[in-house]
Structure formats: structure tokens, C-alpha cells
């Protein structure tokens, strides 16, 4: 029987909480050490989560990120200043998982790439959307020859109004990373042009609505609508209503990854069941990289694409 891979965790954001709430052994992995984010704001939560799953708590994130006994580190922090953790872990040769948004500037991507090259580490920086049950299934369907040629992608993210009048990040910063990563996962071609229409339409100080039209060099056209437009009378669960539709030459796939399920409309209509939280799928990918079962890791290259797209839209 193969041994489970020991992993360290830095941070106690929403993915960390989902991981700790997983009601079964992690697939091929066990959490050995857990540290709070560098800024320390989630120290109490990290302590509680470590205790909950029987991991050793360490107040020293650098010690966990550089621990030579850990082949992999998950950076599950909501702290925007997580670049230092990535640098530390990558430069010590680890497989590092940092869900988007991990770093947000091209300068930081260069820095992460340099750290990876120094330490021969491997970075995985996916969106949660890509690792939802629906997202994973949809990506497989599109890769399948039955889907045909991808013509267009339509993605809509609708979120509650929130606290009107209070400053908060624009909707692009909140939700764009997830959608962009998924979009780039189905469209390998470079972006030809981007048009963005944005506005503060629902009483926000910051931009609460963004409608984007993106054309890729392979002729795929994507339309992305993100808006904090939902009144309180429309019930939603985090992260909001996300709908993605992929239209191919033979099939169309429509998914609501955080709501109902995935439906494939071709000769038949197929609905796929739920599986685990996205973070469990991410852990599985980390283990596959550590054990050499993953045949290809886009890593920094994928991160560079998504950061470039976000900057182009900005």
C-alpha cells in the first residue's frame, strides 16, 4: 500500500476550511503541519483547523513552507501578500498549490517563476471553478472528440448587491480570476482582442458590473458578464450564481458549478452528480504531481496567461 504524501498548509482561508471539513481521508495525502498566513490575521482559525484534523500547528509559516520533510505545501490564505510563501516553498523544491488569485501582477509571476527555477519546485495555481465537479466534467467533455470544435463560451457570474456604498474590490477582482482561468483552460490560443464595459450600476463605489467580450486567435469568442446585481429576494449561496455555457460544433455544455449540476445537451441530456469540494480535487492533483502520476503541469505558464488576461481587461 502506498504511503500518503505529507503536506503542509499555510493560511486558513475558505479553501482551508473546506479541506478541514472534508469528511473522509484526503486522497493520497495527510496534513502534517499547519501555519497561519504571514500577516497572522488567521492565526486563531489556523490553530483550530490544525487541531480539528490532528495536524501540528506552527506559528512560523517560513518553517512550514521550507520544511524539508514536506514534499508539498498548500497556500490556502486569503492574504494577498502570499508571494513570499510561494517563493519560499518553490525555492525549497516543493510542489506548491496556490488557488487563484495567487499572485496578481506579471512582475510577481516573474518572481515566482524565478523561485521555481531556483528550487526546482512546481507551482499549481488553478481556480476552484476548474476543480468543481461540474468544471472537471465539462473540461473532459470539451477535450472529448464528441464535443467538436469550440465555437463560443458564455459565462455569467451574478452576485448579491452586498453592502452598498462601502468600498470593496471591484467585481472583476472578486470573480474574474475564476472565470478567466476556466476560460483559458478550454481555449489554448492567444487572446486577439478584449473589450470591457464596466460600471458602478447598483449603488457601489467600485465597479460592480463588468461585461467582457474576448476574441481568441483560434476564433473562439467569449462573453463574460459579472455583476453584483442580485437583490436580496434572490437567494444565493457563495460564491454566487455562476453559469458557464460552452458551445461546440456538435455539442453544447451548460454548467452551474456551484448550484445544481452539469447538463450536457447533445443527442442525449446528461446530468452529472456532485462530488467533493474543489479543494479535494486540487489535493488530488498535488499528490499526482508529487508521485509523478501527472503527465503535464501548466503551472507558471497557466498563471502567466490568466494574469495577462486580467491585466488586459483592466
Amino acid at each position: 500500500m502506498s504511503r500518503s504524501v505529507p503536506i503542509g498548509i499555510v493560511g486558513a482561508g475558505r479553501h482551508a476550511q473546506a479541506l478541514a471539513g472534508h469528511d473522509a481521508p484526503l486522497p493520497g495525502a495527510r496534513v502534517s503541519r499547519w501555519a497561519p498566513s504571514p500577516c497572522g490575521h488567521d492565526r486563531d482559525r489556523a490553530t483550530a483547523l490544525a487541531e480539528r484534523i490532528g495536524a501540528e500547528f506552527s506559528a512560523d509559516w517560513e518553517a512550514v513552507a521550507g520544511d524539508p520533510s514536506l514534499p508539498a505545501v498548500l497556500v490556502l490564505s486569503s492574504d494577498p501578500g502570499k508571494r513570499v510563501v510561494l517563493d519560499r516553498a518553490l525555492s525549497t523544491g516543493k510542489v506548491v498549490l496556490s488557488p487563484l488569485p495567487s499572485v496578481t501582477s506579471e512582475t510577481d509571476v516573474d518572481g515566482v517563476a524565478a523561485a521555481q527555477a531556483r528550487g526546482r519546485g512546481v507551482l499549481l495555481a488553478p481556480s476552484a471553478l476548474r476543480h468543481t465537479a461540474a468544471g472537471t466534467s465539462a473540461l473532459k467533455m470539451v477535450a472529448d472528440g464528441e464535443f467538436g470544435t469550440l465555437h463560443s463560451v458564455h459565462a455569467a457570474g451574478r452576485f448579491p448587491w452586498g453592502d452598498r456604498g462601502q468600498g470593496r474590490p471591484g467585481v472583476l477582482e472578486d470573480a474574474g480570476w475564476e472565470i478567466f482561468d476556466f476560460l483559458l483552460a478550454v481555449t489554448p490560443a492567444p487572446v486577439l482582442r478584449v473589450h470591457a464595459q464596466t460600471g458602478a450600476l447598483f449603488g457601489s463605489h467600485d465597479e460592480d458590473t463588468a461585461v467582457l467580450v474576448i476574441r481568441f486567435e483560434d476564433d473562439v469568442i467569449a462573453t463574460i458578464e459579472l455583476s453584483r446585481c442580485l437583490p436580496p429576494s434572490i437567494p444565493t449561496t457563495p460564491p454566487g450564481e455562476i453559469e458557464v455555457e460552452l458551445i461546440g460544433s456538435r455539442q453544447a455544455v451548460r454548467l452551474q458549478p456551484y448550484a445544481t449540476a452539469l447538463s450536457l445537451f447533445g443527442a442525449t441530456a446528461v446530468r452529472c452528480p456532485w462530488v467533493d469540494d474543489p479543494v479535494i480535487s486540487m489535493v488530488r492533483e498535488v499528490v499526482n504531481v508529487v508521485t509523478g502520476e501527472a503527465d503535464r503541469v501548466e503551472g507558471v505558464a497557466a498563471l502567466r496567461r490568466v494574469v495577462a488576461l486580467m491585466n488586459a481587461v483592466r
Partner: protein, 349 residues
């Protein structure tokens, strides 16, 4: 009151699917006197239930003195010719959407009918569809506050494999680049009209992308996506796709978000009947109810007849159809150039 005597020019799919059934249900108010179509069998088939005359040349129909109004159900490239001819003969005109392929044609149609003293209405059927009427009422009552975001998707399944003459195929006029502008007009004119109608403001810019997706299409853009900025600050967004698999259940997804609430009419939440067979699932109510809504065409006819017979206002003045056309053509320009097209907020060309 005597029934209005109708001449039908163009006896293709929209006449068969929408206008002839609507006229049949209004047989106490209209009489089909004559039909015309370059295809003689099509003209005869449309005329037969009414024992009407059938022509292959619409001018012969228009020369008849016993016709009060002309229903034009031809491709848009011919709308101006038939409208001008009908107006010159003193006949009212109900014309299928889109109004025309160019604003020059649209203006000529308006001028011809105004100078002849006859009524002209363009058949934007969705303005007469119950769901949009209810949404309009909700917006007018202030139920959702100020409209800030209007978004809609048009999804039309392609013809089943082996079936002839689907939209944008080489065998259908919508796929002929000599007479068809493509999705922006054939389907998209509905979207442009609804965006503008519900935004309650004039567009000031539009950005669009389009492409060919339907198998066998020889070059007419059948896919279009666009985002529209209105003078009020409202944003509009619409995407039109015509290549969905035959099993796809939905045709239109429409949502309006306002400062106090929202209205949503998403077809895939409204599919009432799903049938499961060996070949897979299908949605027998979708096509009849959600796309060719029979009552919408009846309402459209009633509205026009009341304006003609009662001399009242038209619920859909031709200037409104022109405004939708103006936005659609701006979207085409944007898609062709890859640049944002700007429009005069006062509604000029």
C-alpha cells in the same frame, strides 16, 4: 365592422408558422384576398384555405383594388420595394422584422407610408409576447427601480442532421450573403429591440464580435455577441447562437436588473415538458411556446388592425423598429472592424 382585406406577399416559413395561423384565428376581422410568392406552390398553398388568389408577382397583388393592407413576409432585402409599392397603392403595411437591411431603406419606407397616408408597422413579435409585456409593465410600475443591466441570450438549435434548409445553411436564404446580413438582423433584431426597449434609453456605443458556426454556412455570420452602453448608464449584453444541438431546450434567456429588484425569464427554468426516448431527451413544448409564440402574433395583428380600423396610435411605430435596426447595424459595423461603434444618443443615423 367589415373585415380588413389582406394581401400576403411572401409565403415562406414565417408566413406559414406565424401569420397565416394568426389570421385564421382572426377570421372575423381579416380576410385573405390574395397571396404572392416567387414559388407558385407556396403561394397556392397559402391561398387555398381562404380560396384566395395566388400570384408569383407581388405587383399583381398590389394592383388589386379589393385589398386594404399588405402583409410583407419576405426577406428584408425586399421590404422597401414592397412597402413603397403598397403605400403608393394606398394600402396599409404590416411588415416582418427586421425592417430593412439598411437605414436608407428604412427611412424610405417610413417616408413612403407617411406621404401616402397609410399605416406602417414592423412585426417585432416579442413586443407582443406575454412575458415581455409583463416585464414591461413591471418596469413601468417601478417594481425594480431604475433599469441598470439588461442581458439576454438567443439560442436556436440547428437543423437536425440531414434535415434540409436550416437557418444559415446554404439552402436557406438566411445563409445567402447576397440577401442576408446574418444573426445581427435575422435573430438579433429582436435582441436589439428588447435591449433598447427595456433600457429606456438610446444606445451611445456598441461593441460586437461575430463569426460563422453553422455547418454548411458559406459565410454569413450566424453568431453574434455584443455589449451596449446606453446614454442613461445602463449596460446591455446579448449573445445569439444558431448552432445548438437539436436537443437543446432553451431559446431565450432574458434578465433585467434594477436598483430595487430584478426580473428574469430564463427558458431553461421554464421548460415544462421533457420527453425521454431511445434517441434521447427532447422538449416538445419549447419550440411552440418559447419561440413561435402563437398568441404573440395574434396580439400583433390585433394591435395593427385596431390602429388601421380605429385610426389610433400604433403600439410599435416604425421609428422604433428603425432604432432597433440602427443598433443592429452598428453592431455589425463593430464586428466587422473589431472596434467600438459609437452612436448619436439623439437617435440620428
Amino acid at each position: 365592422m367589415q373585415p380588413v382585406r389582406v394581401g400576403l406577399i411572401g409565403c415562406g416559413s414565417i408566413a406559414r408558422a406565424a401569420h397565416l395561423p394568426a389570421m385564421s384565428s382572426l377570421s372575423d376581422r381579416v380576410t385573405l384576398v390574395a397571396t404572392a410568392d416567387p414559388s407558385e406552390p407556396a403561394a397556392r398553398a397559402a391561398a387555398a384555405p381562404w380560396e384566395a388568389a395566388a400570384y408569383t408577382d407581388g405587383h399583381e397583388l398590389i394592383r388589386r383594388r379589393d385589398i386594404d393592407m399588405v402583409m410583407i413576409a419576405t426577406p428584408e432585402v425586399a421590404h422597401r420595394e414592397w412597402t413603397e409599392a403598397a403605400a403608393a397603392a394606398g394600402k396599409h403595411v404590416l411588415c416582418e422584422k427586421p425592417m430593412a437591411p439598411t437605414l436608407v431603406d428604412a427611412d424610405a419606407m417610413i417616408t413612403a407610408c407617411r406621404e401616402a397616408g397609410v399605416r406602417l408597422m414592423i412585426g417585432h413579435s416579442r413586443r407582443f409576447t406575454r412575458r415581455y409585456i409583463e416585464i414591461r409593465r413591471a418596469v413601468d410600475r417601478g417594481d425594480i427601480g431604475a433599469v441598470r443591466l439588461v442581458r439576454e441570450n438567443e439560442r436556436r438549435p440547428r437543423a437536425r442532421r440531414g434535415a434540409p434548409g436550416g437557418y444559415y445553411s446554404a439552402a436557406h436564404w438566411t445563409g445567402d450573403p447576397r440577401v442576408s446580413v446574418g444573426a445581427a438582423l435575422t435573430n438579433g433584431i429582436h435582441e436589439m429591440d428588447l435591449l433598447r426597449w427595456f433600457a429606456g434609453s438610446e444606445p451611445i456605443s456598441v461593441f460586437a464580435e461575430h463569426k460563422v458556426t453553422v455547418e454548411g454556412n458559406i459565410g454569413v455570420p450566424d453568431f453574434l455577441t455584443c455589449t451596449v452602453q446606453f446614454a442613461s448608464g445602463t449596460i446591455g449584453s446579448s449573445e445569439i447562437s444558431n448552432c445548438l444541438p437539436p436537443g437543446y431546450p432553451a431559446f431565450h434567456q432574458f434578465e433585467i436588473y434594477g436598483t430595487r429588484g430584478a426580473v428574469r425569464a430564463k427558458d431553461h427554468d421554464l421548460v415544462g415538458v421533457t420527453r425521454y426516448r431511445d434517441e434521447g431527451a427532447d422538449f416538445p413544448e419549447s419550440d411552440r411556446i418559447l419561440l413561435h409564440n402563437p398568441t404573440a402574433y395574434v396580439r400583433e395583428w390585433v394591435a395593427f388592425l385596431e390602429a388601421v380600423q380605429g385610426d389610433g396610435p400604433l403600439p410599435m411605430p416604425p421609428e422604433e423598429a428603425r432604432a432597433a435596426l440602427r443598433l443592429a447595424l452598428a453592431a455589425v459595423e463593430s464586428a466587422r472592424t473589431g472596434r467600438t461603434a459609437h452612436l448619436d444618443a439623439r437617435g440620428a443615423a
